[in-house]
Amino acid sequence: MTLAQTMPLPDFTDEALLRARLTAYLEGETGRSWTLGAFKRFAVGFSWITYGFGAREKDDVAERGLILRLGPPSGLFAPYSAEPQFAVLKAIEGSGVPVPKAYWWSDDKSILGAPFFISERIAGSAPVPWVSANSSGFEDSYRLNIGSQFVSALAALHRCEWQGKAEFQAEGLTVKNAALRQIEFWEKARARWALKPYPMLHWALRWLREHLPVAPRLSFVHGDYRLGNFLEQDGRITAILDWELVHLGDPHEDLGWAFLPQYMGGSGLICRLLSKEDFVAQYEREAGFRVQLESLQFYLVFSLVKLALTHIAAVRCYEDGHFNDMRMPAMGTQIAPVLRQISKVLS
């Protein structure tokens, strides 16, 4: 009798069943017995489901903290594969980008009902202060310190060597077509998600096609690099999180996303941390290339398009009844403001 035949697949909320199946998986992988503690579901993200749990392998003295991430079939970007996240986390271990150690992954849905990976649980919390307009919500010394680490981690990611590694095939990707590839990806997403036409989005996608930049290099692109997607403890960034959109592309893409006004909280600072000038100056020093203003402008528009599409996806997933997460229709109310912002930037 195989595991799949003896236990029903979990619905991602049945923690007892999930724990039982995961224990069986870990024992199969390691050949040793495991004891898993209680699961704690983290209320983050709209896509991958995240659980934290304690685990003790046979003969372990202390329990260790692990994170399980599952890509459910109803998620925003489904169908998922855990492989790209796992491969990138492995590739950048020790590179200067603080990331959790990745241990196991599988896209075999017969194990937990969805693609998943398991990584180390890192101490820290995501600093997202609740602030009024015109204030970053951080003490200056804190924000300058964290801001500098935030830039260093991004520059380190963009310097990482991926060439020659079997897991990363560029498949015809070049510095010339990197921007176009991303536009094509998000245009397909629009076709899949949009319940109605959006002329401003249509216009913006056309504008992007007419202003394609050439990338200074092909690098890992995080895809969601911003405030809220890193952990901090005692003044140190302990982990960069949420790698589900990671891909190879133009490093300016991560800058465009991090520079979105949505993450400034009215402070005028990039992710409420650094001025644009300080961010770019440090990034250029550490990444080793000059930031092109035209590329930055292109990827700012691109990021607004991507943000609008993410909101449109939330509306669609909610309307289709896959989720009852009330944050999703709330995201839908942000479609019009983002489209107005695109209009402002383009005009």
Binding site: K196, R206, Y318, F323, D325, M326, G332
Partner: protein
Amino acid sequence: MNNSIERLIDGMVASLRQEIIPQVCTGFARGQAFGLIYMLNSLRLRAEWSREFVLEQIRPQVELAGKLAPLLADTAPALPKAPTPELDLHALEALRDTNDARICSLIDWTAAKAAIGLSENAFHVLCLLLAAEDRQLSPSDLSDLVGTSRANMTKIIESLAVSGYASRREGKHDGRRQVIAITESGKAATLAALPTLSRPLKMAFSSLTAEEMAQLDALLRKVVVSFDNGALELDATTIFGNPAKEDDHG
């Protein structure tokens, strides 16, 4: 709103039942939450989005149509339409979405125009050059084939040259004659514009069956052959008059 009111209320109720109430500790607070569920379900039976709210979205679409109408040629895609008083909420929502789709088509159409930078005649010239042997034709041939005066063709060629889409060259067999050749960027711009322009053409012929299309194709081929045979005896002046005195390029 982007979500339907029915789905919003269903989701609110489910969220209260599955996510919120199980976490609520006091009996009174749970009672409040159940009251909310009851009222939400009652609202669901009676509520719908405001008609006025959808009309607010249609108003700028109609204003846009009013501004564009005097500027556009007959060949432009259809403009957004105004609502009629009898339309119910669902019909208004459908009209709003159709109007948005029409605005998207107008954006594509305008971009295709901009891609070739000029008029339909300029686009026609680029298509002719792209299809011609050696990708080049004389100004007088172009004038005849497009059916415009030689003076106008001179202007078209000039602007295509400024845009970098066409260049003037000496004739292969006669150095005294000038020919117009399409450039690589002219070729790229023409090919980029074609898919957009082909959409209205496809729509125009969409009511014909496959059999009728085949018939039309056969008839048009016959006409083209007739023109080719007659070309020896005809020149364009027979059809379009004689604007040769305006021709700078002969």
